[in-house]
């Protein structure tokens, strides 16, 4: 079993970038200067991850206002609509509103992934919103049938993944809706089918793709996720008791398991030893080729300075695991 550590998705924007966003919107700086600051901050965030001992890095998704925004802007046929609460967080996304046929035109996130790849020797993970969650959290004002919509959406997301193939070592497909407690079992099963269809059309080996779910894990939902033909990321912190049961009750035999064992919505200090001890107790029911220690979800829910501490804890967890797992 190979051990890795890496954050699930985004990193909070560094203060300089927060300011640059405001400066750009108030015309105090131009696009060029903004881009320069963005890339500099991306490199900083990549180095922070590397320095803390992460072995799988992300670009930090510093430009992403939410899970969908680069795509609502970058894909044809979509616009950013009203603000909607993102699950039970005090965080809001702009509803992707489908107003015309969805088409992929040019790479959307490749540049930041390339920047991350250039800035480090570690593995780089690229992230895209998955088709099921995209479907569930968007508003369709164009397509007469959901199948047509899905077909075009999957086509567009496939094109984006195609553009990332050379720079990303791992593709993460974010599908939090797969564990949304508001959805019934039938809908969840359909979600798994949709994601599997997407995965099979992607044609990437299953050890290069991770489907990420976060919040609300429980045994029933986890069991459904086990049918996904890819690696899996699960959140063990949002519903700790239920998630714990889930991991013990069901056997995971996929290639990659990413465990969200650092709470990305809390800043309460984690004890690396305790975390590693707990993960070790799962070993009867999990045996992935690759085990990733990760944050439970994206890190937008905590301040930048606290996220830096979270990284550090994750690094210490990996170091501890490397000793304890031998």
């Amino acid at each position: 079993m190979r051990l890795h550590a890496g954050i699930c998705g985004s990193f909070p924007r560094p203060p300089a970038l927060r300011k640059a966003f405001d400066d750009l919107s108030e015309d105090r700086i131009g696009e060029g200067e903004f881009k320069r600051i963005l890339m500099e901050c991306t490199r900083d965030v990549v180095r922070l991850q590397e320095k803390a001992g992460m072995t799988i890095l992300t670009s930090g998704l510093l430009l992403w206002h939410d899970l969908f925004r680069p795509f609502t802007r970058g894909l044809e046929g979509l616009e950013a609509g009203r603000l909607i609460r993102f699950f039970d967080n005090n965080f809001y996304y702009r509803c992707p509103t489908i107003i015309r046929r969805i088409r992929w035109r040019k790479p959307i996130t490749r540049e930041e992934v390339q920047e991350a790849k250039k800035s480090s020797r570690e593995l780089v993970k690229a992230i895209i919103p998955g088709p099921f969650t995209f479907l569930k959290l968007s508003e369709n004002r164009f397509y007469a049938s959901e199948d047509e919509l899905l077909d075009d959406l999957i086509e567009a997301l496939m094109a984006e993944v195609g553009a990332l193939k050379d720079s990303a070592d791992l593709i993460q497909v974010d599908e939090p809706s797969l564990v949304d407690p508001e959805l019934g079992r039938a809908e969840r099963l359909r979600g798994v089918d949709i994601v599997n269809e997407f995965l099979s059309r992607l044609g990437i080996p299953s050890d290069k793709v991770v489907v990420a779910t976060y919040f609300n894990l429980d045994p029933e939902r986890y069991a459904t996720l086990l049918d996904l033909r890819a690696g899996l990321h699960v959140d063990l912190k949002s519903t700790p008791t239920e998630a714990d049961l889930a991991l013990r009750e069901h056997v995971f035999d996929g290639p990659i398991l990413s465990l969200g064992i650092i709470d990305s919505r809390s800043i309460y200090p984690e004890d690396p030893r305790e975390v590693v001890y707990r993960v070790k107790t799962y070993m009867d029911s999990i045996s992935p080729e690759t085990l990733i220690f990760s944050t439970s979800s994206w890190l937008d829910y905590i301040p930048y300075n606290e996220a830096v501490r979270r990284l550090d804890a994750l690094g210490r967890i990996l170091a501890e695991a490397e000793v304890r797992f031998i």
């Binding site: 909070p12 924007r13 927060r18 966003f21 405001d22 919107s25 206002h65 939410d66 603000l83 039970d88 005090n90 965080f91 809001y92 996304y93 702009r94 809390s266 800043i267 309460y268 200090p269 937008d300 829910y301 905590i302 301040p303 930048y304 300075n305 606290e306």
Partner: protein, 329 residues
């Protein structure tokens, strides 16, 4: 000056009122750490205007409009012991807010709301002035915890701190004391509701010289039943208009017979409700409770509305309550 409250369908407000420019200026000073005489004058000016509007509308039981509080959690975190304030956390796009951070044992250090209550009362033309406190469960939910690692510990210590504040308020003569718990209806599970109940016991237990109120709104109020009915609370202040009074059916099911502050004004909608519309809402409330137990008020605080809209809504509300009283006479 004295004022005799009507014996039925008393009107009140939840607390907050749109911020006056003086309040906004005061927030800026406070952010810079300046709480000198200029700051105090600005807060008082804003408070006076809010109270005057409430009086102008004809509200029976007033509030100070919370003109000192830019954020209902951060305000108390800045006054209680055990808290710091976080670096910015993103809420959407490039918009951020700061959250309280619990970094030590939570305790009551000094009077927080008493002086504001005294001042607002002095402007109230003899009408009772309500005090609002952001409740322990909401403070916990809207804060980061770096110290306790245990929800119950945080909430009970907060409740102890508030008990001290409530005792001071009661000694000063405040009658209407309201604990705001908007977070309780968002993701509270049963165990959370029970802890909130313990907190209410600490804050309000054995107090018989005050009207013990809680305001809870939006989310899933139904999840709080039936446990919440056993809390030591005299008056439940709920949001009902926004969900077309559906909550009343639930209250009926549980034979609710305490006092109910009925939300008859939608605070998320700038349309001013007509008097008839509000009277219909009141009639719905009267199907459940006698008019002596029914208080008439907006769903929630008014701070997100334009001042003109808020005032117009309140005026119609008072008119509607008056007419409903006449019809009952």
């Amino acid at each position: 000056m004295s004022y005799t409250l009507p014996d039925k369908l008393r009107t009140t407000v939840v607390g907050s009122y749109p911020y006056f420019p003086e309040a906004i200026k005061a927030f800026q000073l406070r952010k810079r750490g300046d709480r000198g005489p200029e700051y105090e004058t600005l807060v008082r000016e804003a408070t006076k205007k809010a109270v005057m509007d409430y009086l102008d509308a004809g509200i029976d039981i007033l509030a100070d409009g919370e003109q000192r509080r830019e954020d209902m959690a951060v305000f108390f975190a800045e006054e209680l012991g055990g808290f710091e304030i976080s670096e910015p956390v993103r809420i959407f796009d490039n918009v951020y807010f700061r959250k309280p951070v619990i970094t030590g044992k939570i305790c009551w250090k000094h009077e927080i709301t008493v002086e504001d209550w005294r001042y607002a009362s002095s402007l109230a033309a003899g009408r009772p002035m309500k005090v609002t406190l952001t409740g322990p469960y909401t403070m916990f939910s809207w804060s980061f915890d770096k110290f306790y690692g245990d929800m119950r510990g945080v909430i009970l210590d907060l409740a102890e701190a508030y008990r001290k504040e409530i005792e001071v308020l009661a000694r000063a003569g405040a009658i209407f004391i309201q604990i705001d718990e908007p977070a309780l209806s968002t993701r509270a599970e049963k165990r959370d509701v029970l802890v909130a109940g313990e907190a209410f016991e600490i804050m309000f237990g054995g107090l018989d010289n005050v009207k013990r109120i809680t305001h809870i709104c939006y989310g899933r109020l139904e999840r709080l039943f039936p446990e919440i009915m056993d809390f030591p609370i005299d008056q439940y202040d709920f949001e009902t208009k926004n969900r077309n009074y559906e909550l009343l059916d639930l209250l009926k099911e549980y034979s609710f017979d305490k006092e109910l502050a009925l939300g008859v004004i939608d605070v998320h909608n700038s349309r001013v409700e007509t008097v008839e519309e509000i009277m219909n809402g009141i009639a719905r409330g009267l199907e459940l409770l006698p008019p002596e137990k029914l208080y008439i008020k907006p769903d929630c605080g008014l701070k997100r509305l334009k001042r003109e809209t808020a005032l117009a809504k309140l005026k119609n509300m008072v008119k509607a309550a008056g007419r409903a009283r006449e019809e009952l006479a």
